[in-house]
Subunit: 441 residues, 2 copies
Amino acid sequence: MAPMGGALLGFREFYPEDCALRQYIFETFRSVASTFGFEEFDGPILEPLELFAEKSGPEIAEQLFHFEDRGGRSVAMRPEMTPTLARMVGARAAALRRPIRWFSVGEQFRYERPQKGRLRAFYQMNLDLLGESAIGADGEVIAALIASLKAFGLNEKDFRLRLSDRQLWRHFLASRGVSDDGAAGILNTIDKMGREPESVSREKLCSIVSTPVAEELLRSVKELSQCTTLGALGAFFRSNGHGAAMDRLREWEELFNILTAMELAQFISIDLSVVRGLAYYTGFVFEAFECGGESRALAGGGRYDNLVKKLAGTDMPACGFAIGDVTLGNLLREKNLLPRGVCNCDFWLAFDDVNKFIALRCANLIRQKGRSVLYSLVEHLSLTKQLKFADRAGARFAVLFGFQDETGCSGENLCVLKDMRTGNSRTISINSLLEECACLT
Amino acid sequence: MAPMGGALLGFREFYPEDCALRQYIFETFRSVASTFGFEEFDGPILEPLELFAEKSGPEIAEQLFHFEDRGGRSVAMRPEMTPTLARMVGARAAALRRPIRWFSVGEQFRYERPQKGRLRAFYQMNLDLLGESAIGADGEVIAALIASLKAFGLNEKDFRLRLSDRQLWRHFLASRGVSDDGAAGILNTIDKMGREPESVSREKLCSIVSTPVAEELLRSVKELSQCTTLGALGAFFRSNGHGAAMDRLREWEELFNILTAMELAQFISIDLSVVRGLAYYTGFVFEAFECGGESRALAGGGRYDNLVKKLAGTDMPACGFAIGDVTLGNLLREKNLLPRGVCNCDFWLAFDDVNKFIALRCANLIRQKGRSVLYSLVEHLSLTKQLKFADRAGARFAVLFGFQDETGCSGENLCVLKDMRTGNSRTISINSLLEECACLT
């Protein structure tokens, strides 16, 4: 037959070297999340379509792999974890001890035009803290994000976390007389300001508020976006007089005190121009970005106190973040921070025909101690050939059974242990080998 | 809004306790596969529909979640890994060092009526050895399967591997004058014999061969199926004279010698009534079954020397197996072989308002050593309350910062380490705590 085609556009095949890196990224994140006391959960990859439409509106279907299943039900491959998280937490809200600390490592699917750093199937590492509205919870989640990125060997020269605050923006807009209804459209405009010509932003603002107000907004939004210290934020709001904003700034201080105590404050850049498009954020929002280079976004998150209520009917303040595997993997590769392929062969067993079954018995016993063992699966090979295979497999040690003529080792229950790195050999009893094998490195 | 519905029928939500068990099963399998020198790979969850139709015929679509994507392409959620494996191996056949030892842990999807032990989304742990036709390869794969099940604590009273052989069956049928074309239909009938009335089997056989031949076949198939030792198989084929079968039995002996050397032969039951429905098996086939109880199938596999050629155009002998997570998980649960929830909190930090930031600094440093740390995220809590939280979280140790009146500990840079299991406390310098924390258990 004609050889089959490849994988679908935007989907990846993971050959062993790719899979090892994927697992390294997942396991590193899992370790950090565990040190913060977070527990892993997961949900179905296929969900009712309405689960996602409920959160994001019916137009989300345009970006999804969705279809009608054979039972006539509209289903979609999940584009994100949050709606599933909300459902699961909501269903057991009464039984779960708060705060709920959950993380997940899951594949997500979006029908988008594939491009660098953006695929149709990708993994997200999510971490969410639910049931706690105190600033300590925001601090905990931000600390977990920074600690996760640090665990890959990234430092403050490699990435920075841009911190902003929906609540501060709302106070600011309220002080300008903008209603909560108008705020959404204005925040949406602010979110895009860096990427659109000023004339477009001005036009959008004018469609929401009167022209003089729009002009004043445009000016003060720019001014606020340029505040990069707590002091500057304080000065801005003092001179633009709004008490609620000053109260909120005390919570900013609290957050910085927490992150300073944890020796993580140097990773934070105050940047109010970050708004994050998703409408459901209610408080602190943040994005982790690569410093310099392509300035790619590595992760994002924030506080979303109303979403679980909206989706699952349960009051549940929450904050969290998501790290994508594609951009992070690319960055780690460029920075040479991905581990080299690990040796997958601790012991290569070489044996002559007489000693084959003695060697196989040892293979079984060494493997039971957690060490990896390989040998040739075909018979009657010369010692030279078997050692060549050992070398190719990157074996750490070779163990020779028999081959009396070549090794001079003739006693029963003896074998020769060869260090493939140094080339040194020593004769050793099989019992000693079995005792030592767990510790030989 | 009205709370949303639940997950789709046949799909699972993994709450932390479920997720921990899933990860335990995956990690145990990964460890064993690694000791045999196998490397993990993975492929896309969504594939072109024709990838599966090529192997199993177009009627496979009936059992799949398949749809037309927005680009008009017929796609399906993978029901198994083997076609993807064949494509990936075929695409790099020239570069990959043989034998290829690959395993995978992946979710699969089938549109079937959900029932006990059978879901619409489930995980399979696959292990395949490709590029080697020697019996040693069959031995290696069977040994890896038994070692995997043993690693969960299952022993020869819990499960057995029923071993059969498509090649022996073909020799047998050839000796009865059945052509290779007729053999497929007859093997299919033999596969179902245990589950169908004899009259049905007889009728099926009569539609393929003449009635007298069918009668003789029925009798000798039953006789062959009752052979449970190598000696009995030898006697059967000697008296039913077929030289090729006797040659094949020497390969059986070789396989048993390998498994005996590895101290695994006691897990094998010779059972020629196992044929395995899938048409692509060409040699040894096997199924791991629960002993007693519901006699559920835990895993299955065998040699499939022609499939990679058929799917990817590359000559590539192969053998392998798949373990499903659902039945295995149920069995381990019933046998009480699943680990208890592990403590997710090594240290609970309790602090008064003055010492909060000292405690947070310690939290960060202890976490960097890989230990998990929790504390209350709200302020101004009494020591009693914080210790109650520590207890509820199952903390191994509590560390008290400040609370001079309660603890009598007043020095700077001192804290109190409380063993939550024994209730014992000792005053310790913060520096000593940071040094010891990695080793405290």
